[in-house]
């Protein structure tokens, strides 16, 4: 009897121990799962620090605790029980890798997860930036305004009474006269910069300098540099899937050949002739081939809408009635030229409010209306008697490097 009771008590004790062991194991697995999940935010913290570091304005990344080791800039930082080890490659634009470590519960060992981020260059802080040449012909006046500051704009748009002399025109070339502002009444209210040995000619300086006839075709002291070496990276294909194809429709009682709302859209090519396109949402339109707006055609970007236009063909031509950017804010219409885009021009009747980034294209602006925004091109030529008004908010708000792709390895 006693023996049986002891066996039963032993069995019950054994089972109780087993249950406690199971409960303990379950608790351990839950804690381990939480630790495993925590490694992503830890690695993200490393990416955040690396991204902030490369955007801090310094061209030498080997400062503020970052050291060059094994061909990368690296630093480690503790976060609670874990830590991250982040690196910045020396390539341009840099690739960031961050490894998040978290300690296994009740142990001294760590497990790790790795995140890699590739970066791309942000929009440069220039009114006009070119690789080869900048040529202003006729009576072009380049000045600036700030759409984000009511002191220097009215309702976010250019106001001649509030214009500023802070336009920056740059050219990476080292050739003589690679920036030519000497034609007619052309002037740049601001600064010019060329590559080492390159020169700029024409009237450049602050408003007082430009207004003084004695200073005509001269550059104000302190308004010229010849040490420019601005990174101008190529544009990649924005997407290859998950897109819509634009179709016709009616907006506010008007028929349009293409109505584009929120999201991604793709076309093999686009040649608007006697046709029209309207943008009603925040859209990215990728045109793999040529893009043209011809006679009696236009693109309308509604107030509150935004268009990022990627062009992959060799030619971009914006004529006819041009692009009617209803908000008057350049940031709401961006043109991105892939490396295959070689020739681009704007001659539309509508004033052009845009930021244009076509690093491999020779861009000619021959419209009879003013330009508001900024442009980056291989070469830039502007003809006529129009104003080029740089929106300072375009460059100032942009980080030098932006995330191009995120991946957990």
């Amino acid at each position: 009897m006693l023996l049986t009771a002891m066996i039963l008590v032993g069995l019950v004790g054994l089972m109780a121990t087993a249950y406690m062991k199971l409960a303990s194991r379950q608790h351990y697995l839950t804690a381990r799962s939480q630790m495993w999940s925590s490694e992503i935010p830890i690695a993200e913290a490393g990416i955040e620090e690396a991204l902030t570091h490369i955007n801090s304005g310094s061209t030498n990344f080997g400062v503020n605790g970052w050291t060059l080791s094994g061909g990368v800039y690296a630093r480690q930082r503790n976060l609670g029980d874990g830590y991250y080890y982040a690196t910045i490659s020396i390539a341009q634009p840099p690739t960031l890798v961050s490894i998040g470590f978290a300690r296994i519960p009740t142990q001294t060992n760590y497990t790790q997860r790795t995140v890699m981020v590739t970066t791309k260059n942000g929009f440069p802080n220039f009114a006009i930036l070119a690789k080869e040449s900048v040529d202003l012909n006729g009576g072009i006046r380049v000045d600036s305004f700030d759409s984000s500051n009511p002191l220097y704009s009215t309702f976010g748009t250019y106001d001649p009474m509030k214009a500023r002399d802070q336009a920056r025109v740059g050219c990476n070339s080292t050739a003589a006269k690679c920036i030519d502002v000497s034609s007619g009444k052309c002037s740049v209210a601001g600064y010019v910069a060329t590559g080492a040995g390159g020169t700029a000619v024409g009237t450049v300086g602050d408003f007082a300098w430009i207004a003084n006839k004695a200073d005509k075709k001269q550059i104000q002291p302190g308004h010229q540099r010849d040490d420019l070496s601005q990174a101008i990276s190529d544009v990649g294909v924005p997407f290859t899937g998950g897109y819509n194809t634009p179709s016709s429709g009616t907006v506010l009682g008007t028929n349009y050949t293409y109505v584009i709302g929120d999201g991604k859209y793709m076309m093999s090519s686009c040649n608007l002739s006697g046709q029209s396109m309207i943008i009603t949402g925040r859209a990215t339109l990728y045109v793999a081939g040529d893009f043209a707006v011809g006679t009696q055609s236009s693109i309308v970007i509604m107030p509150g809408a935004k268009l990022d236009l990627f062009v992959g063909g060799p030619t971009l031509s914006l004529g006819g009635n041009g692009v009617i950017n209803s908000s008057g804010i350049a940031r709401n219409f961006s043109i991105w030229g892939l490396p295959t885009l070689k020739t681009a021009n704007y001659g539309g009747n509508a004033a052009c409010f845009a930021r244009i980034y076509v690093p491999q294209a020779d861009f000619v602006y021959h419209g009879n209306t003013d330009f508001y925004g900024a442009i980056v091109a291989n070469s830039f030529t502007i003809r006529g008697s129009v104003g080029f008004h740089y929106d300072e908010s375009l460059g100032r708000g942009e980080p030098v490097y932006q995330i191009a792709h995120w991946e957990e390895l």
Partner: protein
């Protein structure tokens, strides 16, 4: 006394089996969720989505499909013609997609996405169960997660 021992043994065995099943289900669900969430985070974009089918474009521009087979009660990953079962014993399964929140939206409030090209968040919900003692489904594991598409 012997009878009491047998009853105790039977009860203990059933309890152990139940706990083992629960731990095993939780383990399988965590592994599947880990795999799925990593692929969704890394994806370039969501190409299509229904309640039981999610098609992603991955970093190599390949189509990556996750689908729920009602017949086999399984979650299957399909890429380049190769199928891998990530999870079995799924009683219910549901994918849904959401947009970026509005600037003024309260925390964690994501509007439902009406099109895949505006999808920023993918939600996954499933219920797995095991049979114990005949046809009684007394072991169940429920999972729900929202995963951000980082590159969209």
């Amino acid at each position: 006394m012997l009878g009491a021992g047998i009853v105790l043994w039977g009860f203990a065995s059933q309890s152990f089996a139940a706990v083992f099943n629960f731990v095993d289900l939780a383990d399988n669900s965590k592994r599947a969720l880990d795999h799925l969430s990593k692929e969704i985070r890394n994806a370039k974009t969501v190409m299509s989505c229904s309640a039981t089918n999610l098609t992603l474009i991955d970093a190599d521009d390949s189509q990556l499909v996750f689908y729920y087979s009602n017949g086999s009660k399984s979650l299957i990953k399909s890429i380049g013609g190769t199928n891998t079962t990530l999870l079995s014993g799924c009683e219910t399964f549901h994918f849904s997609i959401f947009q970026r929140p509005a600037v003024t939206a309260p925390y964690n409030a994501f509007p439902v996405a009406s099109a895949t090209n505006t999808t920023k968040v993918v939600q996954i919900q499933w219920t797995c169960s095991r049979l114990l003692k005949g046809d009684v489904k007394n072991i169940e594991e429920q999972i729900a997660a929202k995963v951000v598409v980082r590159n969209q």
